[in-house]
């Protein structure tokens, strides 16, 4: 890491819920600000954490734009609202009369790195649901199509595309580790996956480490919320296809969606807000789920599933449709000889 020079982070919120910021404060550390400082990160401004308000922020933005203050990472949280009719008036930066999309375009031009915090800023996210009433998009993507607000060719001063720390909300660890790596010059273009998400979390699948893996093996499936079984067959779980380390990194201490008893709805993936079927239900053709595990040929999946179903232990089957253990593992002599 370069010594002396702080890594300046400017964080602005656009068309989102603020949840990625609130999630950020749940970072697993006993001293949030201390961790930033130790990484050489200086928060120029953050909507929830800074004293500066109104005119004080406007002054800071002016200094950022004319180069008196260096912006090392411009973090945008929330979708970019282009409507109505391209005017951007669905989100005007308060006190300025200027649409947020214009501020973001200008600031992106001076920033060393541009970071999309959360799926709204990355792809448009939940804000782009249904008919997308606000014409919301991400910084450099609109769902899975490259482009977005800044355009496919945009590169920040570092030469990198927009870094998409996708998730709804995004995990505090994903954000902090990305920022710390950027500050230490340890995150390069090759560390991003094909959708420009940091590989350190996007090269994993949610299914990895899921506590329901034994049920998955035997296709012993949950039938209603609160059941303990695997949620792939009936409850809409996309964990076998979704890029994120939710079940190995964990949320809020020991949590994850699947540990909370509900399906992974693919919140790190473009377009998750419109799955084309009811959330929490698995669409099937001839009894076979349409969304099959990544990297697995369908015929193999079908063959393995029917084989493992016929071999399901009684215990696994019984527990799959209960909210507590109704049958515990047998106690046997297991001493190895």
């Amino acid at each position: 890491m370069k010594t002396g020079e702080p890594f300046n982070v400017l964080w602005l919120q656009s068309g989102g819920c603020g949840g990625c910021s609130m999630s950020l404060l749940c970072a697993d550390t006993t001293d949030f600000h201390g961790q930033l400082r130790d990484a050489g990160i200086h928060l120029l401004w953050h909507p929830s954490l800074s004293l500066e308000s109104g005119d004080e922020l406007q002054d800071l933005l002016a200094r950022a734009l004319d180069g008196r203050v260096q912006v090392n990472a411009l973090c945008i949280e929330g979708a970019l609202l282009r409507g109505p009719n391209g005017t951007g008036r669905f989100h005007v930066l308060a006190g300025t009369g200027i649409p947020m999309i214009d501020w973001v375009r200008k600031l992106a031009g001076v920033a060393q790195h541009v970071v999309a915090v959360g799926s709204c800023a990355a792809w448009g996210g939940i804000t782009a649901g249904a008919s997308n009433p606000t014409d919301a998009c991400g910084l450099q993507y609109e769902d899975d199509r490259i482009g977005g607000l800044l355009g496919a060719d945009f590169r920040s001063r570092s030469g990198m595309p927009v870094i998409n720390i996708a998730g709804c909300p995004t995990h505090p660890g994903w954000v902090l580790e990305s920022l710390m790596a950027l500050a230490a010059d340890m995150l390069q273009a090759q560390d991003l996956d094909p959708l420009a998400r940091p590989r350190f979390y996007a090269d994993h699948l949610v299914h990895h480490g899921c506590t329901r893996n034994e049920f998955y093996e035997f296709k012993a499936s949950a039938e209603q919320p609160s059941d303990r079984g695997c949620m792939m067959e009936h409850m809409g779980c996309k964990g076998t296809q979704v890029h994120a380390d939710c079940n190995t990194r964990l949320w809020n201490g020991e949590g994850s969606c699947t540990r909370g008893g509900y399906a992974c709805i693919a919140c790190t993936e473009p377009g998750f807000q419109e799955p084309g079927h009811a959330f929490g239900h698995t669409p099937k053709v001839a009894g076979i789920p349409i969304g099959l595990p990544t990297d697995m040929p369908k015929a193999w999946f079908v063959a393995l599933a029917s084989l493992s179903k016929s071999a399901t232990p009684k215990r696994v089957k019984a527990n799959a449709t209960a909210d507590h253990l109704v049958m515990t593992p047998a106690v046997r002599k297991t001493r190895l000889r």
């Binding site: 819920c17 603020g18 979708a79």
Partner: protein, 488 residues
């Protein structure tokens, strides 16, 4: 007359701008503008009703569980079902975790930092306020963030993750808590209690909860004015006369929080009620008398206020006379204030009653009511955890009708939250949300009556040269606004 446009407002949730007419160093007139619109009520149209459970938490990242609870209640109302006791306790525990976290976050991160501002440099308490509450370096700010992080691990266990927990269902909770987890959660509650008793109050929660009057509170303060962060707030408040800032409308609305199983006479741990200061009367809220008026919102209006079941949300950014994305909710035509004050008035807490009797709703009483709730609700949570019966069901299966209406009333940290939905042909035909800040930060209605904050800002002092007047900041933040909820 001078005009001042204040924004962007930070340390509130979402986007807020206030425009002020100033005469002789006082705010003469205020207009409150929520400057962002996303259109959740439009997005929800045509969806399957249960899909709302995925969308609505994402209205707001600071009170996503509150939105889930209101939505689950509306769907349960539609289906005509109730949660089993375990499911109800777990959903109350989650809501309480979030609400108390909001109070904590508000106090330490959003509200107290204003006392570190340069304009107060000459005050005797200023150096101490900076030491404790300066953003990013304040000792107590950092302690509070750490305590908050630990506190939210409750939601990791109870609901998988926060925000945008999806475990709250109309039929209960998708997460059953077992014996060992119950003990672990209890120990986390105790850890949070210890933080509050050591740092915020420097006193047992029960001692705070038992306060019966402002005199008693001030005597408690004066006995050890420098210990605990709440006492430092009281020191600042007295010095700055915060009881004079930000008078509310005198009509307070609570829908009631934390429904309890099997208590038909007193169904909520924190009561519902409408308190009218002028007549000292408490009546049950009449949900049928709620309307929203869109006269000054950038939304098409029906030329008359509509009940949420008839409500409509169609943006019109060019509408003449409009100045915000927020509609103006009214209770039988009147402006109300909602929040912790309203809950404690409805629950007849003597300290809040006395504070409101003496000073009305104001910056001082709003903060007292919120902080008091931290002391009141943590012990309630301990009892709900103890009431869980592992092995008994957490979830009741349900079936939604293809046609019907549902209403879900609940309390977010910031006050009364209501969801109304109409289902036709198995799809959502209308979904309307009236959030706490919609009430508090409402614009003028057709009759020109200003909303609660607009009125509360009138008379606020503006010092020479101030571009973002500090008194205005105290008043705005005393409501702990959530703009993303307001405009959804």
């Amino acid at each position: 007359m001078a005009r001042l446009l204040v924004g962007p407002f930070n340390r509130v949730e979402g986007d807020l701008e206030v425009s002020l007419d100033i005469r002789a160093g006082r705010v003469q007139r205020a207009q409150v503008n929520a400057t962002m619109y996303r259109g959740f009520e439009q997005i929800l149209q045509g969806k399957l009703p249960t899909d709302a459970l995925v969308y609505v938490p994402r209205i707001c990242g600071i009170c996503s569980v509150s939105q889930s609870v209101a939505s689950a209640k509306a769907l349960a109302d539609l289906a005509g079902i109730t949660m089993p006791a375990n499911g109800l306790h777990v959903s109350n525990l989650m809501l309480a975790t979030e609400n108390l976290a909001d109070h904590l976050t508000h106090f330490y991160l959003f509200f107290m930092p204003d006392f570190t501002r340069g304009v107060y440099a000459s005050r005797p308490w200023h150096a101490e306020a900076v030491r404790r509450f300066a953003p990013s370096t304040g000792e107590q700010t950092r302690e509070a963030i750490a305590a908050r992080q630990r506190w939210f691990t409750l939601l990791g266990t109870l609901g998988g993750k926060w925000p945008h927990t999806q475990s709250i269902e109309p039929g209960g909770s998708s997460r059953a808590v077992d014996q060992a987890e119950r003990i672990r959660l209890l120990s986390k509650l105790r850890e949070f209690r210890a933080f509050l008793e050591r740092h915020l109050f420097a006193a047992p929660l029960e001692a705070i909860a038992a306060m019966r009057s402002l005199d008693e509170l001030w005597a408690w303060h004066d006995a050890a004015p420098n210990t605990g962060d709440f006492r430092l707030f009281l020191t600042c408040a007295r010095d700055l006369d915060l009881q004079l800032l930000g008078p509310g409308p005198g009509l307070y609305l609570s829908f009631g929080a934390y429904a309890q199983p099997g208590h038909s006479s007193s169904p909520h741990a924190l009561a519902s009620g409408v308190w009218r200061s002028a007549t000292q009367s408490l009546v049950e809220p009449d949900a049928l008398s709620i309307t929203e008026d869109a006269t000054h919102a950038w939304l098409e209006d029906a030329a008359m206020p509509l009940h949420p079941l008839q409500g409509m949300t169609v943006p019109n950014a060019d509408k003449a006379g409009a100045y915000t994305w927020n509609k103006a909710p009214r209770l039988a035509g009147e402006v109300v204030e909602t929040g912790a004050i309203a809950r404690q008035l409805a629950s007849r807490h003597p300290l809040v009653h006395d504070a409101v009797a003496q000073h009305g709703g104001c910056v001082l009483t709003r903060v007292i009511a919120r902080v008091l709730e931290l002391a009141l609700v943590v012990p309630m949570m301990e009892s709900w955890l103890k009431a869980l019966q592992p092995g008994e069901p957490y979830f009741n299966a349900f079936q939604l009708p293809d046609e019907g209406v549902g209403m879900g009333l609940s309390e977010a940290a910031r006050g009364a939250l209501g969801h109304w939905l109409v289902v036709k042909n198995g799809r959502i035909a209308n979904y309307q949300i009236v959030a706490p800040t919609s009430w508090n930060f409402s614009p003028r209605d057709a009759g020109g009556t200003p909303g609660a904050l607009e009125k509360a800002l009138e008379g606020a002092p503006v010092l020479a040269g101030e571009k973002s007047p500090v008194a205005v900041q105290h008043i705005v933040r005393s409501f702990d606004p959530c703009m993303v909820c307001t405009v959804h």
